[in-house]
Symmetry: C2
Subunit: 227 residues, 2 copies
């Protein structure tokens, strides 16, 4: 019940030397990511995280000065993986419709192989704070790393939609609304846990569910966008 390493704070149950293993910040970020994904920013305590990663609270604060900076680092790390999974698909000169298909397949791939990702993203986007304006100007605040990354990703998708509308392969949709609909359709499913499992009848990260999802959401979005 009581976390192992926390008992020592009370001065009781001290028994012997504890094997000290070197811990990198990466291990902290990895544990933090799954905890934040599962319970949200305020649902995770530094004590809890310390136990999960096998360190004391104080050591966590050595690696990251505040909880918020740790959270920002977690978000940035996740978006970095997302960006990496997306880059190769967007740079060649294929037609917009083909690039859209690749884009959707890449996103589904990242979300499906990286279970905490969708939940983490969904929470970050629904939480008000981190995105006072994606515009990055006007508000006196300096943008955080993961905001810049998100803006880059969305700008690339925006450019793809604009190219498709310009050459007539996509309908003349409201681009902002189209991006919102696409994000919602893509990300929500992989963030929906038990509800998703109840709706499709099997775990959402199972192989069958993922390959079906790829087909279904790809066709859904494609039909929503193409002329």
């Amino acid at each position: 019940m009581v976390p192992d390493r926390e008992r020592f704070e009370d001065g009781e149950a001290r028994e012997g030397p504890i094997l000290t293993v070197p811990h990198s910040s990466e291990k902290i970020l990895e544990s933090a990511e799954s905890l934040f994904a599962a319970s949200g920013y305020s649902g995770v305590g530094m004590r809890q995280l310390a136990v999960a990663v096998g360190l004391s609270k104080s050591s966590l604060f050595h690696h990251f000065p505040t909880k918020r900076e740790l959270y920002a680092a977690v978000l940035d790390r996740a978006l970095e993986r997302m960006e990496e999974g997306l880059v190769p698909e967007c740079e060649d000169g294929a037609d917009p419709s083909t690039r859209l298909d690749r884009w959707i397949a890449s996103i589904v791939g990242v979300l499906a192989e990286d279970a905490p990702m969708a939940r983490l993203m969904m929470r970050a986007l629904v939480d008000e704070e981190p995105f006072p304006a994606l515009a990055l100007d006007g508000s006196g605040r300096e943008p955080m790393a993961f905001e810049v990354r998100l803006a880059r990703i969305l700008d690339r998708f925006r450019a793809l939609l604009e190219a498709g509308i310009a050459d007539g392969s996509f309908r003349p949709v409201s681009i902002g609304d189209a991006i919102q609909s696409t994000i919602g359709a893509l990300v929500f499913h992989f963030a929906s846990g038990d509800l998703g499992e109840a709706l499709i009848g099997e775990p959402i990260f199972s192989r069958a569910a993922v390959s079906r999802r790829r087909r279904e959401v790809s066709e859904f979005i494609r039909r929503g966008l193409v002329a």
Copy 2:
């Protein structure tokens, strides 16, 4: 800085009789709903809520025995409004395509006129806990009121999709996936706050943004589903 009513616990700053106004549970639920929508379950404290509603913590615990039960009541109350906004559209004998349009318009109407709703729903659906299985069987747990309500709403939408597929007006989609895509496209936008505003260039609850959203998401989903 320090909450007004909480100061008295310290035994200081006691000045005079405080006007006691009768408070109904409804007022608590209303305040709690906007707070939970803004900050999530663990992001809201009973103290904070007590200040917002103008009561002491203890009075809150008189109305609701635990924070979780208060949260469950908030979710149920919100889903109740959602259900009310949906009922008239689903019961007549129109063809599936027409009913789908009405369905989408109703959901957008509820989400747009009820600002905390989308965020509250999104958080509830992404949080693991409250939905161990929408099936309501198998798990030894008794279903909560809002789970029953959600299951009813989703079952009605499922029936609409099945009817449309059966009579050939909809494509033979995977129904679970189609529901997930539809929820994502509909709800995420109104839960996305600053990101949504940055993407569409104006507040998401402004009149212009709402009416555009209704057109855009309706066409997006319709094209994704109809044959």
